[in-house]
């Protein structure tokens, strides 16, 4: 139990008459790269928002490194880094200024901010554009900077909510390499994605969530074997159905 980075117990979140997350229980080990998959509106982002302290659960508890996400929210915020679904960067700041701002918000010293910024900009392939206003960045560059912002303070746990959306294959693979590197450093990563090959490539374990409930949990190989299909995409379709669920 002590090795668990995240412990979720009977977590439920209701929005008026809609249950976004229902009785979710889950443990993620330290250093694990855990994939949270599910169709649109399945409750993935709601679950992550609860873990980040952005919204309160209706019932149940969630702990990160032993800290309750509601009661010890400040401590939890210092431990986690979140790459949110939106490409949230300040368009009127340069890449390096965005990183410096968030470094300061995490109370890092100047030297560390500079070192981390340089490293992240290099890893994300943004060094040449570091001093450009981000409003002029392409969509993929913005996503990469958004990921860098989430990790500026070298968090113990990273929540990456669809981090490679809108990226070209080269950028996507560069990000995958970076995520793998974080794992080798012992960081715990929670990844949500719609790219099944991404989940299969990166994740140690995968949880599939649908209608707010955890409907499958295991390593990619275990899930494929258990469902007697060829790949994770087929597991996903088999478990969540073929109907399109995009909310208009």
């Amino acid at each position: 139990m002590e090795e668990s980075a995240i412990i979720i117990e009977n977590l439920t979140k209701k929005f008026e008459d809609k249950t976004a997350v229902e009785d979710l229980s889950l443990q993620v080990s330290k250093g694990e790269l855990f994939g949270l998959l599910g169709p649109n509106g399945a409750g993935k982002t709601t679950a992550i928002n609860i873990l980040c302290g952005l919204i309160k659960p209706t019932s149940g508890t969630a702990k990160i490194y032993g800290y309750d996400v509601q009661k010890d929210a400040q401590k939890v915020k210092e431990l986690i880094g979140v790459c949110i679904q939106e490409t949230a960067i300040y368009p009127y700041l340069t890449g390096v200024e965005n990183l410096a701002l968030f470094g300061n918000l995490y109370a890092m010293n100047k030297k560390t901010i500079k070192e981390r910024s340089n490293m992240l900009l290099t890893k994300m392939g943004l060094t040449e554009d570091a001093k450009r206003i981000t409003a002029k960045y392409s969509g993929g560059m913005k996503r990469r900077l958004s990921l860098a912002l989430a990790l500026i303070h070298d968090p113990q746990i990273a929540f990456l909510d669809e981090p490679t959306v809108a990226m070209d294959p080269q950028s996507r693979h560069a990000v995958w390499d970076f995520i793998k590197e974080q794992k080798t450093k012992g960081k715990t990563i929670i990844l949500t994605t719609h790219y099944m090959e991404e989940a299969e490539e990166l994740c140690d374990r995968i949880g599939i969530i649908d209608h707010g409930k955890l409907i499958a949990l295991g390593t990619p190989k275990e899930l494929i074997a258990k469902n007697q299909v060829k790949n994770l995409e087929e597991v996903f379709i088999q478990l969540t159905g073929r109907n399109m669920r995009e909310e208009l």
Binding site: G53, L54, V82, I84, E86, A88, L101, N104
Partner: protein, 386 residues
């Protein structure tokens, strides 16, 4: 509270102001252009030009030999800022006023000379005075006339009664008048205090847009995920916009000064003016937050912000004097009214900073600004977490 976070967010907000063309225009260029255009049309450059107002005098004085009404008329004629037309009947004067030939009509009442005589006989015994009211009719369509002319009449009356500016008791009451020193004043002098207030009001729109935009693009969410506390965030916002207000006030002052606004007051008066504008900016942050709480999008915030901008603008700045009596009373419910009043008192009336009027204005502005900010924070926190 970590100062490092507050300073980082403050710096970010200032960068936004400098780098976003729309923000830069609204906050800095718009007030400058406004002052330039308004000032040029009223007073020109260099402060050497003074406006001239056409006023009508209707003398209905019956007292004695009408000595004092003649003195009053002569004194008005001696004011270089006035061109006096004497009318024998009110009807003709009112007709000229309604046609825009003159900008004001003053009706010297029948008891005028008796009133002044009674005052001169017993200046320290108000109970023995013959009280009278001097009606003043102003061209409502003339912004300048409503601002500038009443104080001029009041000054001439005060001079006849040998009263200084702080004297409150007088047998003669001028309707709508206030005690203002107007020697060689240009129209710009009467407008300038309102300009200081005017510029800062548009912060409401900027704050509302800033909060709604950050909400829309996910930045507010990102800030909330970081260890930044709501107190640190709000402190950074207040400091940022106070800084912007200070820069605005400096620019407006520089512009008005260059155009001839040079009030004969000391450094403390200027310091007070800047402090007052800073305090006032807090209320604009509050109104901006209230707007952001109501608005669902940044474009909606722009429109909704005018719910607060326009009343502050029309009821509380130099525009207010040209409005109806009811509207002027309504002006007393907006903070900008007290800011303009205090600045006018300091710059034009030469009121001491410790005078009751100034202290009351400052107190009202301070209390209302803190209250509005508190309401803004509570509302915003209720509907959208900070």
């Amino acid at each position: 509270m970590k100062v490092q976070r507050v300073l980082a967010l403050t710096k970010k907000e200032m960068m936004k102001t400098i780098r976003e063309p729309a923000v830069l225009f609204m906050i800095f260029l718009f007030p400058i252009v406004f002052v330039f255009a308004f000032g040029a049309s009223l007073g020109g450059f260099g402060g050497s030009q003074t406006a001239t107002y056409q006023v009508g005098v209707v003398n209905l004085d019956l007292g004695g030999s009408q000595h004092w009404s003649q003195v009053f008329t002569n004194n008005l004629s001696n004011m270089t800022i006035l061109k006096v037309n004497v009318y024998t009947d009110n009807q003709t004067a009112q007709s000229d006023l309604s046609q825009g030939k003159i900008q004001a009509v003053i009706l010297i009442p029948a008891s005028f000379s008796d009133s002044i005589t009674s005052y001169n006989t017993a200046p320290n015994h108000p109970s023995q005075w013959v009280n009278t009211t001097v009606p003043l009719y102003l061209d409502k369509g003339s912004l300048v006339a409503t601002q500038a002319i009443p104080p001029i009449f009041q000054q001439v009356l005060g001079g006849m009664l040998n009263q200084n500016q702080q004297t409150t008791q007088s047998p003669i009451q001028l309707q709508t008048a206030s005690l203002v020193e107007v020697k060689q004043s240009s129209a710009l002098d009467f407008i300038a205090p309102g300009m200081f207030t005017f510029a800062s009001i548009f912060l409401i729109m900027m704050v509302a847009q800033s909060f709604t935009q950050d909400r829309e693009n996910g930045m507010m969410k990102r800030i909330r995920i970081s260890p930044t506390t709501p107190t640190e965030f709000m402190a950074s916002q207040v400091i940022s916009y106070m800084g912007i207000a200070l820069i605005q006030a400096t620019l407006v002052f520089a512009m008005t000064y260059a155009m001839g606004f040079k009030p004969a007051v000391g450094v403390p008066a200027y310091v007070f003016a800047f402090i007052l504008v800073l305090v006032f900016s807090v209320s604009n942050v509050g109104f901006g937050l209230i707007t952001a709480s109501i608005a669902k999008s940044s474009s909606a915030a722009t429109g909704l912000s005018f719910l607060f901008v326009l009343p502050q603008l029309f009821l509380g700045t130099f525009v207010g004097a040209s409005l109806s009596g009811d509207a002027q009373i309504a002006g007393k419910f907006v903070p900008s009214y007290y800011v303009t009043d205090a600045l006018t008192s300091v710059f034009l009336r030469g009121a001491p900073l410790g005078s009751v009027t100034i202290l009351v204005d400052l107190a009202v502005v301070s209390v209302s600004c803190v209250a509005i900010l508190a309401i803004g924070i509570v509302l915003y926190a209720k509907y959208y977490k900070i």
